[in-house]
Each structure stands twice: as structure tokens, then as C-alpha cells.
């Protein structure tokens, strides 16, 4: 294990951090962000490409997507992913099944 991994694991012991980092929105936002940078596009360039295809996305919306903000519509993800080349696969690695109490807490959060 590296020192970096060790620190990251320690951060995940702070209440709420693991759930925050492993949330769907953060995971997909990070992939969108990494892909955009890989393509050498600015946020504005990606927004313009979305608009050219008739999708009215704004830079603040893209910023929210990339930073993992909650309550983004699934269609918005779909649009951005399409413009970035389409998602050929989205893999989900499942963790252990939470107990009922934790599940209820997560759903009502």
C-alpha cells in the first residue's frame, strides 16, 4: 500500500466521506471530467458542442456534473456522455449488501 492510499483510506474513516466519494454522482462526474481533459476541451468547448447538437447545457450545469453535484437528470448525463463519444460501458462494482437500518438511512438522506 502506498502512503497516498493510506491517507485516502484514513479520510474515508471520517463520517460521510466514504459515501460522498463513492456516490454515483462523484464517480460519473470524475469520469466525465477526466475524459474532457483527455480530449483537451475546456468546459466552454464541451458546452458549445452540446449546444451545436441542440442540447441546452450551460457551463454551471457542466461544472455541477463534473463536481458530482446531486439531482442531475439522467438525460443530462446521457447528453454529455454522447458528446464525449458515448459510454461504451459503465461498470458498477458492488460492495456488500448493507443492513436494513443503514439502507433506510441512506434512502432517506
Amino acid at each position: 500500500m502506498s502512503r497516498f492510499d493510506d491517507i485516502m483510506n484514513r479520510f474515508k474513516t471520517v463520517p460521510g466521506v466514504r459515501e460522498y466519494l463513492e456516490s454515483f454522482e462523484i464517480q460519473i462526474g470524475k469520469q466525465i471530467f477526466t475524459r474532457r481533459i483527455q480530449l483537451g476541451w475546456s468546459q466552454q468547448q464541451l458546452v458549445e458542442r452540446c449546444r451545436q447538437r441542440g442540447y441546452p447545457i450551460t457551463q454551471p450545469m457542466l461544472s455541477n456534473i463534473e463536481s458530482g453535484k446531486k439531482n442531475i437528470e439522467s438525460n443530462t448525463y446521457h447528453i454529455v456522455l454522447e458528446v464525449l463519444g458515448g459510454a461504451e460501458s459503465i461498470q458498477i462494482k458492488f460492495g456488500p449488501v448493507p443492513d436494513e437500518k443503514k439502507m433506510t438511512a441512506a434512502l432517506t438522506e
Binding site: 500500500m1 502506498s2 502512503r3 493510506d6 479520510f11 466521506v17 466519494l21 475546456s42 455541477n64 463536481s67
Partner: protein, 166 residues
């Protein structure tokens, strides 16, 4: 592939690791300061993004975004994930402005190959004033570290990797 390594500062202290552990410790206290708890969410988030990203050779503008504060959706938190410093082009800064806390970390990069980049973190602190003297000191030291590293990158990378193993 990309990796983050920590390097000792000239004062022989691993300032980055020490600061990160302090943020964690303060967040794990019985009645933690909510500002530190929020920072304990944002710092690993930024570090994960940073780790997974290969910084382009020609970085034309800072890579940044703003998002809602987890404590208050009406407030904003600003991330400057990668900011190339003006005075030293080999030095990069990673900033998180989550008032009242302003996190700063400095690093340089080494491209082992087209697809393999290391980000070597040297200094970090929580800023409590505009342009504190420690900021210029951190930039100068990181530039010097980058310079020393570049003299024999293969040997220095090997040493750093060893130091970064737990």
C-alpha cells in the same frame, strides 16, 4: 496511469502528509469543526481527481470548478485542481477555497512515459491571509525540488517510490 507521491520538505518534514492527517484528526474529534469536516470531504475528492488525471504538457488555463458546499447549498466551494504558478512554470498548485478554510498544496510533475505521470507533492498549508510569505517559499522550494529531481529522474523516482511505500 498517474500517481501521487509525497516528498519531504527541506525542513525534513512531510508537510503534505502531516497536514492531511491533521485535517482527518480534527474531523474525527468528538465535536468537530464543521469547516474541517467539509474540508475532509473536499480534499480527498480533489486528490482522487488529480491522481486520475494526466496533466497535459501545455496547460493553457487552470483546471477549476465551483460546486455547492455540502454544509450549505447556497454557498460555493471553489476548486482549482491544477493551477500552473506564474513565477515558476514547473510548479503546480492545487487549491480548495472552502471558507473559512483555504487549502493549498504544491507539486511538480514527472512524465515517465506518455501514459505514466507522477505528481510529486512537496508543500501544503491552510492559508489564513492573502499571499502569505509561506506561499512564495513553497513555490520556490517546489521549483528547486523539481530541478533537483530532473537531474537524475530515474534514480530519484526510485528513491521517492521507496519512501512512499508503507
Amino acid at each position: 496511469m498517474s500517481d501521487i507521491l509525497f516528498e519531504h520538505s527541506f525542513s525534513d518534514q512531510n508537510e503534505v502528509e502531516v497536514l492531511l492527517n491533521q485535517i482527518i484528526d480534527l474531523s474525527l474529534q468528538e465535536n468537530p469543526d464543521p469547516a474541517y469536516v467539509a474540508l475532509a470531504h473536499y480534499v480527498p475528492l480533489g486528490m482522487e481527481y488529480l491522481r486520475d488525471l494526466i496533466i497535459p504538457t501545455r496547460l493553457e488555463q487552470a483546471i477549476e470548478w465551483a460546486t455547492s458546499d455540502i454544509r450549505d447549498p447556497d454557498k460555493q466551494v471553489h476548486f482549482k485542481l491544477i493551477l500552473q504558478t506564474v513565477s515558476q512554470r514547473t510548479v503546480y498548485e492545487f487549491r480548495i477555497d472552502a471558507p473559512p478554510l483555504f487549502f493549498r498544496a504544491f507539486f511538480y510533475i514527472y512524465n515517465e512515459s506518455v501514459n505514466r505521470q507522477y505528481k510529486i507533492m512537496t508543500r501544503a498549508f491552510i492559508k489564513d491571509q492573502k499571499n502569505p510569505p509561506i506561499q512564495q517559499e513553497a513555490i520556490q522550494e517546489t521549483a528547486l525540488r523539481a530541478n533537483v529531481f530532473a537531474r537524475d529522474p530515474i534514480k530519484n523516482l526510485r528513491k521517492l517510490k521507496l519512501h512512499n511505500e508503507k
